[in-house]
Symmetry: C2
Subunit: 341 residues, 2 copies
DNA sequence: ATGCTCTGCTAAATCAGTTTAGCGACGTGG
DNA sequence: CCACGTCGCTAAACTGATTTAGCAGAGCAT
């Protein structure tokens, strides 16, 4: 790429000045005593030649590359990754940076490759992202420079960006309470593994905490809590069927994510029950499917783009070193209503 | 990043040789007359020091960066992008390259920024990707180096990688014919804009061609063709309801994509019709939702990862300069059966 | 003994920037 | 009249690799 590009030397020559002068002017160095006229000439020359500095040459000297490494365990399949990347991309562009993306797939060999590629290229910082909110071990090799954890925490005291799952849980509980639901609120998606092992998930426990504490504050307890081995539609379907077999039918169901909710919709459809007439449903994530369901599913949205954006901001502008909790906004659709009187 | 890394000079010193010798040995240069012993010493020294070449320094001289730019119109929201990126990432890693990702969002300013970032960094090649299979205009500035179009074509004669939508259409038609469906096959998702304007979509027309020619070869014509302003669930829902109002009910429905099929499922569920007992449904894309539906939706999968992978291969290993059609495999699930006898 | 080739290796230039150290001209105070 | 400081600018070093040009010594033929 890059046909005969103009170099700094070309600019300097055209401006009738030295490379030093040109460099200083173009970098807006303070405290230099170059005349206003010299400034003009350099800018003009650079403009006329369409000059753009060679990043390799510059970073050889300065050790800065205006490049951020985005390392994640799994990039694809999930649109979650896409959102994180897009947010990061936007924020990076605003700060004149670019993203170098690598994926470890949780594989040690791939991780090593990613780390080496990053170190070889002297990136200015690393965003280490996980696809499921969880705790992970950061490879020590990258701790030499700035690191931000995205959708993850680690044993090391590194700045991290997380969705506010607990807040979302509270908000969801409040939403149901506000509609008048009380003692017949059920939950689908209990899962000890997810709740207890932070290396698997931080979201399950946080969401549950938010829900429970808010209900408890209103003097309400969950009617039942359906277990699910995974948070997939088929498990939501099964859990909902079990729920409908019980003597007391709930007035509202909280699903731990939208895929479970989708399964719940399927079971309710088969049972001939209507949402939200017979039962309200509310959930977490704002998977695209939430908007496609009939009726649309009310859900607390994972703020992917915000998170990706925040990660870059913390990395480049410096964070307070702690955790950034990004709020999960509630998407209000038609799946929640007041219970039958 | 990168605490005191060893440089080539360090390696040379430790090996008791010149930088020249060290460089040649490590690059495996042919035709050099360095002794076997010199080779040993250099390798040993490099190993002991954990030497890794500085990419900036190297590329300053060689103009090679082992970096590929992945430019796309829209990265996020769609998991399609994720698949393309992941495939490209894998293939790049196998060839010791790394991906620099930028997004234009279809915005001229952003595109300019992306191009400049790419040129400044002297990437070895560019993958220009579109999220919807379509024809696009490649900015002339990147034509100085190797370019591969991914999921897109362009007026310029550039190598491109596309899904085989026409083949998929044919395969879908054959699948229905093989099950015994004949004169009562309907289609949902006609859309003149998509079919006629290659800048919007190449897929619509290709899929339709494949379907029609295969049916025609069997002496069959489509029963009806439902129009849809967009390929979203709500439009599939509406189209399916219209279809059900007609006197002859089809035995099978081909949806132009899975989101339409999802809408169709919703309409069928409401109408109390069962899939595939009353009606078979088949579709394109293999959106994750296809596997989540009850029954699972048979669909021709967009081969995202293969395509991303292929793009890198063509870029780096050299393609034949033409279009690479990547086959769309049929995911057989339970939504297709023989029509009622 | 001289010239030649071949072997094994190295000094120095180069890539395109940034940064350090300092030079000549001018004005000014003693 | 001279020392000194300020102004406006530049030469040269430096970053870490690759690459070109070429040197010293050995072996061989004449």
């Amino acid at each position: 790429m890059g046909r005969e590009r103009a170099t700094l030397a070309d600019v300097a020559r055209r401006a009738g000045l030295s490379k030093t002068a040109a460099s200083m002017v173009l970098n807006g160095r303070e405290g230099t005593r170059l005349s206003a006229e010299a400034h003009q000439r350099v800018f003009a020359a650079a403009e006329e030649l369409g000059y753009r500095p060679n990043v390799a040459a510059r970073s050889l000297r300065t050790r800065k590359t205006a490049t951020i490494a985005f390392v994640s365990d799994i990039v694809a399949t999930t649109r979650f990754a896409g959102g994180l990347i897009r947010g990061a991309l936007d924020a990076a562009r605003e700060r004149d940076h670019v993203l170098l993306i690598t994926e470890t797939q949780g594989d040690a060999t791939f991780e090593r490759y990613a780390i080496e590629a990053i170190l070889d290229r002297q990136v200015d910082g690393v965003i280490y992202a996980a696809m499921a909110t969880r705790r992970l071990a950061v490879p020590p090799a990258i701790l030499g420079g700035p690191v931000v954890l995205l959708n993850a925490t680690s044993p090391e005291p590194l700045p991290c960006v997380l969705p506010d799952d607990e807040g979302a849980g509270a908000m969801i509980a409040e939403t149901l309470l506000a509609q008048g639901h009380r003692d017949r609120i059920a939950l689908i998606g209990r899962n000890r593994q997810k709740e207890l092992d932070p290396e698997i998930s931080l979201a399950a426990d946080a969401r549950l905490r938010g829900i429970r504490s808010t209900l408890a504050a209103a003097g309400v307890a969950l009617l039942t809590e359906g277990f699910c081995p995974e948070w997939l539609p088929e498990h939501g379907y099964a859990a909902m069927r079990t729920l409908l077999d019980r003597p007391t039918r709930p007035t509202a169901v909280i699903c731990m994510n939208d895929r479970l909710a989708f399964g719940a919709y399927q079971a309710l459809g088969e049972a001939g029950l209507s949402i939200p007439g017979d039962l309200s449903v509310i959930s977490f994530d704002d998977d695209p499917i939430a908007a496609w369901l009939r009726p649309g599913l009310s859900t607390a949205a994972l703020p992917h783009e915000q998170m990706g954006r925040r990660a870059v901001e913390v990395l480049l502008d410096g964070g307070d070193g702690g955790a950034s909790l990004v709020p999960m906004p509630l998407r209000r659709r038609r799946s929640v209503a007041a219970p039958d009187a």
